[in-house]
């Protein structure tokens, strides 16, 4: 994925309203992908849906400008990742027991989860939202560290640090399992 950067000028106002049919097409094309990404970061279906919903609301509001962004998927990915991280900040303040992993709650159990995957799942719970974002964007989706840094809004070195710590933590938790 290229990191193309596009700037444009628009006049704020009523003419920025999206064509609803085009917006529905965007939702249809991107909502599932963003949901799966969000789920890997926040590890909660409700939070993931909230993150995708907020992402698409922002896309609606910035519709006119978004039409001239050369890489809409990258733009949406960045907004979604940061929304996931923001949500995790809020959720840390919730009382214990109001969130948690749906995986362990049995709502989305894999039919053939092996012991190693279950151990990995438990280890994954110990990662921060940024670490989860780095692991899933870099190791699963194949984005470069520089691209991940752009999504997270941090320096490449910071992104690499999140990644290194994430893998180290997974290794430690697996060893302790």
């Amino acid at each position: 994925m290229s990191l193309s950067i596009v700037a444009m000028s628009v006049q704020s106002g009523a003419e920025n309203r999206p064509n609803e049919i085009d917006f529905e097409r965007l939702v249809d094309a991107e909502a599932g992908r963003l949901y799966r990404l969000a789920l890997a970061i926040v590890d909660d279906p409700t939070e993931a849906e909230d993150a995708v919903q907020e992402t698409m609301v922002i896309a609606w509001r910035r519709w006119s400008s978004l039409q001239d962004v050369s890489n809409t998927s990258a733009w949406l990915t960045r907004v979604c990742v940061r929304e996931c991280i923001r949500q995790r900040r809020w959720l840390r303040r919730r009382p214990v027991g109001t969130g948690g992993s749906s995986f362990e709650q049995g709502q989305f159990q894999f039919p053939d989860v092996g012991e190693r995957l279950m151990d990995l799942h438990r280890a994954y719970q110990h990662l921060s939202a940024r670490q989860r974002a780095m692991v899933t964007l870099h190791h699963h989706d194949g984005f470069t560290v520089d691209e991940c840094a752009a999504f997270l809004g941090c320096r490449p070195g910071t992104a690499r640090s999140h990644l290194g710590r994430a893998v180290a933590k997974l290794r430690k938790e697996l060893a302790d399992a």
């Binding site: 993931a48 151990d119 893998v167």
Partner: protein, 411 residues
């Protein structure tokens, strides 16, 4: 029980398998309907149109940090000096009044109020510069790394008379999975510079500090102290040729004194230190953030004859907290620290606009030390999102803070 000696490939393969399965979960059937209802019910006039009351010109960038944000502090306070496009800028160095250099994915220059201009955007593919230090207006060093996909290489650029060129860095491994990177550079003289950063192994447990020295001929890696666990260095500054400080995550503080680097201890809370500056041998500041990941608060530490200790930082009494990434001093009683307040729903207690309805826009955070303590500065109320990663003050007392507009800004 998993094998604790699992190889990197095995661990990453297992992780990918887990994520593939985890992400196979489909969204709820009504997600798309909910999105369409939510979007159509929450539309309205843009925030800029509301706040400014004019048909504001909005610049939208495709990715985080795409807009370069320059904030200038002079006698009239902070204001946006320029908001260009096409590069990310992470650090700035000023050596005399109105003569500053900024680096990131390009090298930019400002002299005498003429405005910022790109001097060089021909960094190696995948290259970014994280730190810059100028000895004079026409002699600078910039450091960073080149991301080569499965590994990285150190990147050092030397600017002389406005002409920049890549120079050979210290010998480092270029094996796949090895990621050395410089984060910061400082110079005592044109032939006495230090660069710090980290080395990381993909899949490996340890990020280790990296220290290099330039003594007039070539850059060479210098042995640093062994540290417990994982940690790199993010910033370095020198008081004199034999007295330097470097800081990093986990409140790592290293001191160069008497010809070698040693780990110093800090009294107080642990956190990530991102920047350091010294006014004198017994007066330094280090800033960063503390908190368990998602509840960050700015962290400020001060070095005096009694050692390093945490000093009170203004508490960000709104959700999401904040972090500091740059610090610079004009005088012993006037220092600035800059960073960002991540996420939406953040309203500075002073004059920045509430962004609760504006999406995940990060706001610049500016704090000021005026002798009595640190306070949050109002910054610039016209900034519509952004994060500040570096600051430098010139000899006239004017300061430049640089960073990125994360989503939009007025122009």
């Amino acid at each position: 029980m998993p094998d604790p000696k699992m190889s990197d490939d095995e661990l990453l393969g297992l992780t990918r398998a887990y994520l593939t399965r985890r992400r196979a979960t489909p969204p709820a059937r009504d997600l798309e309907d909910n999105i369409l209802r939510s979007a159509s019910s929450r539309r309205g006039p843009s925030r800029l149109g509301t706040v400014l009351g004019v048909a504001a010109v909005v610049m939208i960038s495709a990715l985080a940090g795409a807009g370069v944000l320059y904030l200038h502090a002079g006698s009239s306070g902070w204001h946006i000096a320029e908001d260009s496009n096409g590069a990310n800028v992470y650090a700035v160095s000023c050596v005399s009044s109105g003569d500053c250099w900024a680096v990131g994915t390009a090298i930019e220059h400002e002299s005498g109020g003429s405005g910022w201009s790109v001097v060089s955007n021909r960094l190696p593919a995948g290259g970014s510069l994280n730190g810059v230090a100028c000895v004079r207006g026409d002699v600078c060093w910039a450091v960073g790394a080149v991301d080569a996909g499965n590994h990285s290489q150190l990147l050092i650029e030397h600017g002389v008379g406005g002409e920049w060129a890549v120079v050979r860095g210290p010998a480092m491994s270029t094996n796949p999975g090895e990621f050395p990177e410089f984060s910061s550079v400082t110079c005592v003289t044109a032939i006495d510079c230090w660069a710090v950063g980290s080395t990381a192994s993909e899949g490996g447990p340890a990020v280790q500090p990296l220290i290099a020295h330039y003594a007039g001929a070539a850059w060479s890696v210098v042995d640093g102290p062994q540290i417990n666990g994982s940690g790199g260095l993010t910033a370095v500054t020198c008081v004199s040729t034999d007295d330097c400080w470097a800081v990093g995550p986990s409140s790592l503080i290293e001191h160069y004194l008497g010809g070698s680097w040693v780990v110093e201890t800090s009294q107080g809370v642990q956190g990530t230190l991102s920047a350091v500056t010294c006014i004198a041998a017994d007066s330094c500041w280090a800033v960063g953030s503390t908190g368990a990941g998602d509840t960050e608060q700015p962290l400020i530490e001060r070095y005096s004859t009694a050692g390093w200790a945490v000093v009170p930082s203004p508490h960000i009494s709104v959700p999401n907290g904040g972090e500091l990434e740059g610090v610079a001093c004009v005088s012993p009683n006037e220092c600035w620290a800059v960073g960002d307040l991540p996420g939406i729903g953040v309203a500075l207690p002073q004059t920045l606009p509430n962004t609760a309805d504006s999406g995940p826009s990060t706001q610049p955070l500016i704090e000021r030390y005026s002798g009595g303590g640190w306070t949050i500065d109002a910054g610039t109320s016209s900034t519509q999102g952004g994060a500040l990663t570096g600051i430098a003050c010139d000899s006239s007392g004017a300061c430049w803070a640089v960073g990125g507009t994360l989503r939009e800004s007025t122009s």
